[in-house]
């Protein structure tokens, strides 16, 4: 199972939950399952997040393949100067 953690800012959309486990081959599939449970997350996941997969930050890419034991952390979309 893929372990998924959300940053604090998303808890308002998930009834306060921030830890999940899914069986999912890509970030995209993780998003779909999250949105199914919490439809309010959809605009956030679509526009406002980056995802760290085992420490590697993916700013936008959602079709990244995931290992079965991958750890995901969904964090706000980052911007530099």
């Amino acid at each position: 199972m893929v372990k998924v953690s959300l940053w604090g800012g998303l808890r308002e959309f998930t009834d306060g939950n921030s830890e999940f486990e899914f069986s999912a081959p890509t970030i995209h599939k993780v998003f779909l399952q999250l949105i199914e449970q919490y439809p309010g997350l959809e605009p956030e996941l679509e526009n406002n997040v980056s995802v760290a997969v085992d420490g590697q930050i993916y700013r936008d890419s959602i079709f990244v393949s995931l290992d079965e034991e991958a750890e995901l952390f969904i964090l706000p979309k980052l911007q530099g100067g």
Partner: protein, 752 residues
């Protein structure tokens, strides 16, 4: 498939790591290089902006009759000339031109196009605006008070549950961390809690914003402008003026500094709207005062930091709350600050929360590692104080608690390969840190973190018929990056540096490229260039296979030559790129490589700084006597320009620490909108900046590159505060630590 000699490598470089002359050097030392304001067009008009003299006012009416009657005035635009825009662009539009209310002193209210600059200036003064003056707020804490004047009546803080019922000036709340803070503090032997404030600093690029826009009757428009991202200018202007992206071609001029401040549009949509109204090209250039009053700066802040530690030096908990003032339209800077707060440390219990606060100040813009230096000042000051209390060397204390591969970062994910420990060890072993502190001086150090980015990248690489190569990239070269691009292309192709030329292509020539920011250019462009070179090499090997009449997999590419390889190859003289290029017409046409990617895997970086200072107790003036930057570059493509990034970031940080800051009176008007009173470091303020490059390859890049542009501005504020504390015994909690501020603190300290 042909074989390519070592495309991905971390050693054995031929061109990478050398220090060739930059390709645009001659243009820039002869005055030939054309920056934003250096262009002209036939029939060109000059545009000027009328700006609000009030920090907060309702715009009751705008009467342009007298201005339009002035001979030579061709058009005036106001908010009415812009239609509805998608939600994502609303703040940008309302910042570019005030809609209904002026939200800060300097906020654009109208723009004029006239035959020449003196007419345009006169016309601006002839526009009659009736304002209803509203109460204003420019201080971050005051803006958060219950009874503070509201900037936006429809602003309900996002990021808190349940959603607030009353509007406020808090744009958003964000929270990061893990573990249990209270448990952590319960295990601590020493707990320190301190409060800090910082003032806003401007990016301070020497070139003011400038553009030339031409809207043609056939619907095709062009903009020439100084920007960190011309694709962003195109997409934003297209959205604000409701034109198709394909109809708008944006060319980036040479850019005279940005540091994050040129990642937003200000003049471009106004110039284009004026051009649309007049049918003439319109040029607009900001004055320095406009740059200060209406663009940038970064946030001001108030912060609280609390850290607990055991007697043997283990940090048990770190807590921080950040209030970042982000100007009239909010942003994401407190969030980034909260993410970076404790990123250098391996903590079981950590929490960082941030409030993004609206005030009657210009919309904040990114400034080099946006948000990070501010909170770093607070956290690294407390860390330094704790090290002192424990009697542990400040670098050793940081090493005892440093984040390592596999640790969970304070902002959430686990770290993969990171170089913090090596950076700190290298700082500890540096001759500067090993040298005794000179008589009358004192030493301080701090360490900082920044993310670095990759992002959308599209490049093309063309092999010319003489075997030279032209690389087209889509990100402005802000600090010599063209040299690094040429080096990486030359390295990958196995040809001399001099045989590659890199140009910055306009928005109609390439796919979308993210802006030159986030320390991304050498990382992301480089990655794409190496891949594009790979494509061109494969094509060239294919052509050679045709010529030699052997299978393609019997051709290999070594050091710029196609060679036969393997049992089926036969015996042929190696064929170089020039000979292959000469035969392109016969073998199938032009040879090119291109690559389009969303470059991920930029790799975070850390920077450790050491400063020796002398404090004049009679004037409160701090002199920097020696300064060293130690930072991980992954792989330094052109070491001189990597050093330049370290040195430049450090001196910007020194300026922020010691002098720079927006000054507001009770009237909400900026009092120092010029370089005389907003004092950036000059040559005689600083010593040589020692730059030590560490190279821990980033596995996300074929040559191991990490971004280097931003991290160097993160540690200076705390580094200097810690040195001042060593010198005077005074823990400064306020930035800038300008002479009058420090003098007052010294006098109070002496009184006890």
């Amino acid at each position: 498939m042909a074989k390519i000699d070592r495309l991905e490598k971390t050693d054995g470089f031929r061109v990478v790591g050398t220090r060739p002359d930059r390709p645009d050097g001659v243009d820039k030392v002869t005055g030939r290089a054309r920056f934003g304001a250096d262009t002209f067009a036939p029939g060109m008009l000059i545009g000027k902006v009328l700006r609000s003299p009030h920090p907060h006012a309702r715009i009751v009416s705008i009467d342009t009759t007298k201005a339009m009657a002035l001979h030579g005035v061709k058009a005036i635009v106001t908010a009415q000339d812009f239609g509805e825009v998608p939600r994502a662009h609303k703040a940008t539009l309302h910042n570019v031109m005030a809609h209904g209310k002026a939200l800060y002193e300097g906020h654009a209210v109208a723009a004029v196009a006239a035959a020449d600059v003196s007419i345009a200036r006169k016309a601006v003064k002839l526009i009659d605006v009736e304002y209803e003056i509203l109460p204003h707020v420019t201080d971050v804490d005051a803006a958060m008070a219950q009874d503070a004047p509201l900037l936006h009546e429809d602003n309900f803080t996002s990021g808190i549950d349940p959603k607030p019922e009353k509007p406020s000036n808090i744009d958003s709340f964000s929270e990061f961390g893990h573990g249990n803070i209270e448990d952590g503090f319960a295990k601590a032997d020493i707990i320190l809690e301190r409060e800090f404030t910082t003032e806003a600093a401007h990016q301070g690029y020497i070139e003011p914003h400038a553009c030339l826009a031409t809207f043609s009757e056939d619907g095709n428009s062009e903009i020439w402008c100084t920007t960190q991202g011309h694709f962003l200018v195109r997409d934003t202007c297209a959205a604000l003026l409701d034109i198709a992206e394909s109809r708008l071609r944006v060319t980036a001029s040479e850019i005279g500094g940005g540091f994050g401040g040129k990642t937003v549009v200000y003049l471009e949509p106004l110039a284009l709207a004026l051009s649309r109204k007049t049918g003439r090209p319109v040029k607009m250039v900001m004055s320095r005062s406009e740059v200060f009053r209406a663009t940038g700066p970064t946030s001001s802040s108030s912060m609280r930091v609390k850290i607990g530690v055991t007697n043997d030096g283990k940090i048990t908990a770190g807590d921080a709350h950040l209030n970042y003032q982000s100007g009239a339209f909010g942003g994401f800077i407190a969030m980034l600050g909260a993410m970076c707060a404790y990123a250098c440390y391996s903590l079981e219990n950590v929490r960082a929360t941030g409030d993004e606060v609206l005030t009657n100040r210009p919309m904040q813009a990114s400034y080099r590692a946006p948000g990070a230096p501010i909170i770093n000042f607070a956290v690294e000051s407390v860390i330094d104080e704790l090290a002192g209390k424990l009697g542990i060397d400040p670098i050793d204390f940081r090493l005892m608690n440093a984040a390592k591969e596999g640790d969970r970062s304070s902002y959430g994910p686990k770290y993969d390969q990171i170089g913090l420990v090596k950076t700190l060890e290298s700082a500890r072993d540096h001759p500067h840190y090993q040298a005794p502190v000179a008589e009358g001086q004192a030493r301080g150090m701090a360490v900082g973190f920044w993310f670095n980015f990759g992002g959308l990248t599209s490049i093309s690489l063309n092999v010319n018929t003489d075997g030279t190569v032209t690389v087209s990239v889509g990100r402005p070269d802000i600090g010599g990056s063209r040299a690094a691009m040429c080096q990486m292309a030359a390295e990958a192709l196995g040809i001399p540096y001099e045989n590659v030329r890199t140009i910055i292509a306009d928005t109609s020539s390439l796919g979308f490229n993210d802006t030159t920011d986030g320390s991304r250019t050498t990382f992301a462009n480089g990655l794409a260039i190496i891949r594009a070179a790979q494509g061109a090499i494969l094509e060239m090997c294919g052509r050679v296979a045709k010529i030699w009449d052997i299978p393609q997999d019997a051709v290999e590419w070594v050091d710029g030559f196609a060679k036969p390889c393997g049992p089926n190859a036969g015996d042929f003289e190696p064929m170089g790129i020039a000979e292959i290029a000469r035969k392109t017409a016969q073998t199938g046409g032009p040879i090119a490589g291109h690559h389009e990617v969303n470059a991920e895997g930029a790799g975070v970086s850390f920077s450790a700084h050491i400063a020796d200072v002398k404090v004049d107790e009679e004037t409160g003036c701090t002199q920097i006597c020696r300064y060293t930057v130690v930072q991980d570059a992954g792989k330094a493509i052109h070491p001189s320009y990597v050093e330049g990034q370290y040195q430049g970031g450090a001196v910007q940080g020194i300026g922020w620490a010691l002098n720079e800051g927006y000054i507001y009176g009770d009237d909400g008007i900026m009092q120092n909108p010029g370089f005389l009173d907003y004092r950036m470091p000059v040559c005689s303020d600083v010593p040589m900046i020692e730059a030590k490059i560490i190279e821990i390859p980033n596995k996300g890049h074929p040559y191991g590159v990490r971004g280097v542009g931003e991290t160097s501005i993160v540690p200076p504020l705390a580094t200097i505060a810690n040195a001042i504390c060593s010198a005077t015994g005074i823990r400064m909690t306020q930035i800038p630590m300008a002479p009058p501020v420090l003098l007052k603190a010294i006098e109070e300290h002496k009184k006890g």
